[in-house]
Symmetry: C2
Amino acid sequence: MYEHLRKVALGEEPADVLIKNGMVVNVLTQEIYQADVALAGERIAGVGRYTEGKRLLDATGKYVVPGLINTHCHVESSMAAPAYYCAEELRWGVTTLVTDPHEIANVAGLPGIRYMLQATRELPINYYVQLPSCVPATPFEHSGSILDAEALGTLAGIPGVWGLGEVMNVPGILQGDEDLLAKLRLPGLHNIDGHAPGVGGRPLNAYVVHGINTDHESVTWEEAREKARLGLAVLIREGSASKNLEALVKGIVAENFPSSWMAFCTDDKHLADIRREGTIRHCIQKAVQLGLPLLQALSMATINAARIMGLPQLGAIVPGWQADLLLVDSLENLRPSHVFYKGREALGEALPMREPAAALRGSVQVAPFSEDSFALDRYEAGRTYPVIEILPGEIITEHGSVPGERVAELLDSGELCQIAVLERHHATGCIGVGLLRGYGLRQGAVATTVAHDSHNLIVAGTCPHDMYVAAQEIIRVQGGYTLVSRGQVVDTLPLDICGLMSSAAPEELIPHLEAISHKAWALGVSQDIDAFITLSFMALPVIPKLRITDMGVFDVEKFNFIE
Amino acid sequence: MYEHLRKVALGEEPADVLIKNGMVVNVLTQEIYQADVALAGERIAGVGRYTEGKRLLDATGKYVVPGLINTHCHVESSMAAPAYYCAEELRWGVTTLVTDPHEIANVAGLPGIRYMLQATRELPINYYVQLPSCVPATPFEHSGSILDAEALGTLAGIPGVWGLGEVMNVPGILQGDEDLLAKLRLPGLHNIDGHAPGVGGRPLNAYVVHGINTDHESVTWEEAREKARLGLAVLIREGSASKNLEALVKGIVAENFPSSWMAFCTDDKHLADIRREGTIRHCIQKAVQLGLPLLQALSMATINAARIMGLPQLGAIVPGWQADLLLVDSLENLRPSHVFYKGREALGEALPMREPAAALRGSVQVAPFSEDSFALDRYEAGRTYPVIEILPGEIITEHGSVPGERVAELLDSGELCQIAVLERHHATGCIGVGLLRGYGLRQGAVATTVAHDSHNLIVAGTCPHDMYVAAQEIIRVQGGYTLVSRGQVVDTLPLDICGLMSSAAPEELIPHLEAISHKAWALGVSQDIDAFITLSFMALPVIPKLRITDMGVFDVEKFNFIE
């Protein structure tokens, strides 16, 4: 390898690809200058004046930018299969993904993680996996898999596995949970991602002492600054729902704060949003609009990310480093005309889809149930029942209540609906049933297997029969989204891979996602919420105030179930 | 470990050492603010508000600074034994040394490197060894050892060995020397130090493609900038002889150039200079005087150095990181009142001396020779002889000449002296003899075993008898410095460890070094040169124009011996 590289660098052999006369963005020195970039095999051979290339690419008027790096993302949240997700990222210049397969791991455990690795191994993108540290997310639900340190250890250090994924169990760290700490000490970890929303002061110190390197949960500038002071790399998150970039970048700009140990990430971003604006490209654009110098933003998107995550020879245009780079016509627009991954063009290439194993396609295993599971006669007059109240535009819920004698009337009027979570991994028969306000559904039922973090089968509805039909439809297609009205299926979007991701191409998936959400609005679901995404968060028992799992209605503030 | 650390961080257990009310220098965020620093065992447990400590240290009015890092130094060049050298570094706040035992490796090979590791293992300092990549430095001399890739490989990855030392053989890299390239690919290397003085353009690209990370040889700002652009970390050198800091820092300041991938080093610095002003501390001070912002200079001396060299959890005051830190009363003066290494005070501690193995004490093996080896009757009338001409204040020499018939007369007048290099490692009997101008010696002889890079026995003198006596004296003491006048030894400073370092304490060594140099002036050696240091560079056949090795007089420009 080195001989060809060296000879191209010396000008003794022609480059495999010679990018002539481009303006090179040097994120190491924060400069932009004209230079030729000679590629040899998978690597950059030279930056300077070069004349001979087997392929000559005239980059006059273009900028040569290092490939962008998304430092933290959950591919499953896009609902696209890995190959399709990667293609969307590549379209906007991301050549390196640091992913946390937390969602699929909750459904399918180690085989789920292995699938994400296998499905991306041949793709023209650097795909790093951080091992999910918290599967299941809480003990208050039944997930498809339980990954303890020993289980995770079987994957630590294998090709593609880079570090440990977001350590969400902050109380576990602070209390010295042995198994959790053992995960942090697994051999072969290059990086440990943190996840400490709102944690500061002494608890943050106690969290950081364990060698946790990053955090992407800062919502306010003050929170981000405190974390930076204590050595955490601040990964500025801008996803579809969680948008922290404005607050954090405004802080950086206002205080002229050093950003060399900060980078960008998306965490969760929907496919349609990625297709429209990209991920890291959108972060750069927005940061620049907020006053961050362009080169500083580009550095955060490239070299800072590589250094923070410890990724060698990525993130800048340096001789000997991997030839991952973009050509763009404008640094404002940042739309790549060419994307190189390991020296070959990656844009427009049809990416190979790797079929998942049958087990990942048959992930919905529910014990027999009937309409009675959702029957209304459980609500007794004279008793009061808890109600999960959706707040528009918020992920937290209110903790409401309703007298038993009024339930039927409020279900009829559409003010309330029932919500149920059916354990769907191991057919345990666990079903939690509760009441939901603010969803808007006037008739019918909505069901999905995307239900954070254990991804059980969640169904909301106004009548037991429709809820039954919806749940059965989801079982029939082995996961996905469905709408039922008056006993009939209105529409179903199968998510055939673990009930989380679709094998369909984005051209099919994106319009279907849009259409099924519109149809949910037609059934009365409030127009200011997404029927399925909102539902998917109702089962997450770590966010206040009231949630529901397959084990019952859960009071997050008291951290226990309601009897 | 983590339990105590976590509990101290949470304030549930008292810190082992609590540094109260100091102004903490945060090199991550470039801020200085008041905070308590709680230490637990070898690590920092918390930065913030803490109240309880088994030992309380009131740091009111003091600054808490991360331990300084010297990114490239040759301990042997100080002539102090490792323990004494480290004590001098610690005195001025250096808690991490990245060393290249190139000198001792040239004399004693792998056992020499092992000695440096063993002698420092128990010292309160982080002592990292970069494996010397170029032993011998050239094929034009006989060194004590030849370290090929296989030999170096026996040390790669062992505790304390961090990376590969300065790759000086630039032509070897550019020509694809197989053994040299194999050294770059040794397993377990974290870092590869470069050494590419004056190299730029395509050759620099071809040098860098091999994964070489750093360079400490930039003399001009333009050279440093080009290297930074191509991804090399610029290690700004400020030693006793090579002083590059002013030129480089002026460039950084003038161009407001990013310095986050730059650090400081000394390369070669004498013991007396270290004792007087420190190493990295002096770099910071000088950089600030030249206009570099203090926090930027402090970052280069700490966190930048750690990140460049890939040293984990060093270089900043971060919970969980190694508790290496200094207390100073003034950021201008930067004289530490306390130095902590792994949480314990390292200042004033008597450092244990590790006795070298007998072989390292008996390193001078010279084949029998006589006064005839230096006889003057070799200079024939009618022939012209090459003369090495010393230029005051320069390390390069001029290539002069003299007619044979004038040699005796010019030796008598002190204008010329003879210079000889005797192979001293394996008693091969190789002796190179030549003529030297500009040294000033009017009578007697000067001899030393410090003679870069092979450290053979070098002797300069005006009469064969004195040269013989001086060489014999060096053999008697098994290495060191000596002065001879009229057949009598005037003074000898033994360098008992490999003929390079003294086991004597600095209190004895520094005055002796000063005294013997003064005595050399009394014999006529020019006052503007150091008799021994100047002599030690006469044998280095890589610096123009004329040198001498045990194999003869060497024309560096023609890169061959003079017949």
